[in-house]
């Protein structure tokens, strides 16, 4: 096993784009976990694992599951399974592709996995897995969706990247490095965390004496709170974008900008670079555990990079252990 999954109850596998080898990574993990004694469950957020990629029409590997593993997928996909499984639960909630079926594999085979459509449902599904004696859940993230990797949903994550991002190898490295930077953002100190944890949605000023003052519904409204002298931090319980970050930076005040976790940050790389050089320090309440990176040197547009060169460049620029999916 290349990744150390021992300490985690749930791991998200997310891709930076389509065709970066996320499913290959997942299949690798599943087969490596076979016979490991781990009681594994596999699901996804949104549609994934379909025979043909619905966007680019390129071949996609299916998810192969082994005896004893638990899987949650939509009714429609369950009917098309190529494995024998014992149904454990039929969810009451309808998704666009029917109800969610949770089943334990009896005879190995393949299945298309379409899990819950939103993070809240995913969260409650993961919480319910203990009923089925599961101790490690793998979550396949959907296209360009980092949300299942939120530390409030899964304990750890594996990020897949590759040639599908850009034809320029340096650009792939740059984009990947940026996401890794966000994933590994500094945590707030304990004192500030204790204050922020108690606050609900909205934008909050945290004053030097520890008091919190609500100053807005959302950071996306265009209204920017003014940072006066007594303010030590700004906590945004929700998403932040370029506009908010830029106008906060321009105030040239020393302040911590706190968000719940990296999935709430919708700030472009250039904008983030400027912020890093400013007096505003971007921090998170909950940090994500990045277990490693996988790269796919093949692009669906027909070109490819040298596998080792790509792997090395990604590893060098991010400082995170990186593997080529095709060589796993």
């Amino acid at each position: 096993m290349i990744f150390d999954l021992d300490k985690y109850r749930s791991v998200a596998i997310v891709g930076m784009a389509k065709n970066v080898g996320k499913t290959v990574t997942l299949n690798h993990l599943i087969s490596a976990l076979r016979g490991s004694g781990k009681r594994v469950a596999v699901t996804s957020i949104g549609l994934d694992g379909e025979g043909l990629d619905q966007v680019t029409r390129t071949a996609k590997p299916e998810i192969t599951l082994y005896e004893g593993m638990v899987v949650t997928t939509a009714e429609q996909q369950y009917r098309g399974r190529q494995l024998t499984a014992e149904i454990l639960d039929v969810g009451g909630r309808m998704t666009s592709v029917g109800r969610l079926i949770t089943a334990r594999v009896r005879v190995p085979g393949k299945v298309i996995i379409t899990g819950p459509a939103d993070t809240a449902s995913l969260q409650s599904l993961l919480e319910g897995y203990s009923r089925f004696d599961v101790n490690l859940a793998l979550v396949d993230g959907a296209l360009s969706r980092l949300s299942p990797a939120s530390p409030t949903v899964t304990d750890a994550m594996i990020l897949a990247t590759g040639a599908a991002l850009s034809a320029n190898i340096a650009d792939v490295a740059k984009q990947t490095k940026y996401i890794c930077q966000l994933i590994t953002l500094d945590l707030v100190d304990d004192e500030l965390r204790n204050i922020c944890c108690r606050l609900g949605r909205g934008v909050w000023k945290i004053l030097n004496d520890g008091l919190a003052e609500r100053c807005g519904e959302t950071a996306l409204s265009g209204e920017i709170p003014e940072i006066s002298d007594g303010v030590k931090a700004l906590y945004v319980c929700g998403a932040i974008g370029n506009n908010f970050v830029e106008r906060l930076r321009m105030q040239q005040k020393s302040v911590d900008l706190v968000v719940p976790d990296f999935t709430k940050i919708f700030v472009t790389q250039d904008c983030h670079a400027l912020l890093q050089r400013s007096k505003v320090k971007l921090k998170v309440l909950y940090s994500s555990r990045l277990l490693g990176l996988t790269v796919n040197p093949w692009s669906p547009r027909g070109f490819s990079f040298d596998s080792e060169e790509l792997r090395q460049r990604i590893e060098d620029s991010t400082g995170v252990k990186t593997y080529d999916v095709m060589k796993l």
Binding site: T84, V90, G92, V107, P108, K110
Partner: protein
Amino acid sequence: MNKCSLKNNSRDFFGFILAAEGFNLHSAVGRRMLVDSHFMTDRQEILEEYDAMHSAADRATDAVRHALCELQDIAGTLASLENGTIIDDVQLFEIKHLARIAVSVRNAGFTSIPDVGRVVEILDPDNDDVDTFYIYDSYSSELAAARRAMTEPSAERYAEIARIEDEVRIRLAEELIHFANPLKTALTELGMTDLRLAKTDFAKSEGLVRPEISDDKCTFTGLFNIDVRRSLRLRGMKYQPVDISFGRTLTLVTGMNMGGKSVLLKSLATAQMLCQYGFYVPAAKAEMMLFEDVLMTGGDGENAKDGLSSFAAEICDMDYIVKAVRAGSRIFVLEDELARTTNPFEGRKIVNGMARLMAERNVASFITTHFDGIEGDFRRIRVRGLRQDAEANGTIDGMIDYSLVETSDSDVPHEALRVARLLGADEELLEMINN
């Protein structure tokens, strides 16, 4: 004149019930049973329903309630089973799940639920006593062998397994088809049990009472309106219940604005609907007669649906009532501020005409009005209204006595301006009104 809003009152009633706090169904089947329930006009049927509610509440253990929470509405699956369609694993899982719930609830003493223990046996061949399901190895030795042979995923081998599984599914469907009807009955009975428990819990939480059923009179002691009482309680205020009785006659209700005339009519309508849909009713004590329909008009202008002017809607409603009366239907009519949508001169004539018709035909009916000079030989009641010392009292509700009193006067109270002043209306405006 077919756009009468009166016909939808059962839908409004279900909406009211489903939205009511304290009314909690455990399952979608229970909800279906509520929405499919009919307006009962047979005394025996209502009394039997009350008895059934009582005995369900007596037997309902936590285990029964828990089982009902797990109940899924699988009417579609049971229809497939009955039609002889091949049923898949998800459907077999659902059937097993239903059968297990039915057996456990039946064993708790709900003997109206058919015994479907055999279905559980068929779908649990290894006697595992769990809710899970798949096409078990023990259904076919050929299947067991094929599965043992497949250690690595293989599309070809899976095709062979799938073929044998399908044979088993056909066999299971053939065996289970005989239980389609008992399973359907079990599903409805479980849904009814859920509904009955929700009704008795609701009665307990709101303080509803089981009414006596009478042939020719209605008597309420401490009649109240569930919604109004709740919202008053939230504001820390007290609801004043009323006592009222009536027979197959017209009662004309007068009284000041805000005196609770509309609330009285709504309470009467709600109590009648609750009773005839098999619920307990909001009163301390109640004796009720049964009607073929409850028709309530007016009130908050909700008749102006479907693009009709409010007057047109009112005429439309009246027409519907008159036709029902002429057809000899035993209806309960509640007309709130009849003819308030037109001028007082003709409005008074309309009320007079309607009152005469209701009185002559002995229709159990209530008409509220602000018009004076409504003549005729019928019963009149008045809301007591503003207390003598109203102005000295704090809140507007503390100033009003909502109790009802018999009167012979065809005059109506003239207290609108006094109420307006108490409500804090602009002094300059009141000055202009007075002069």
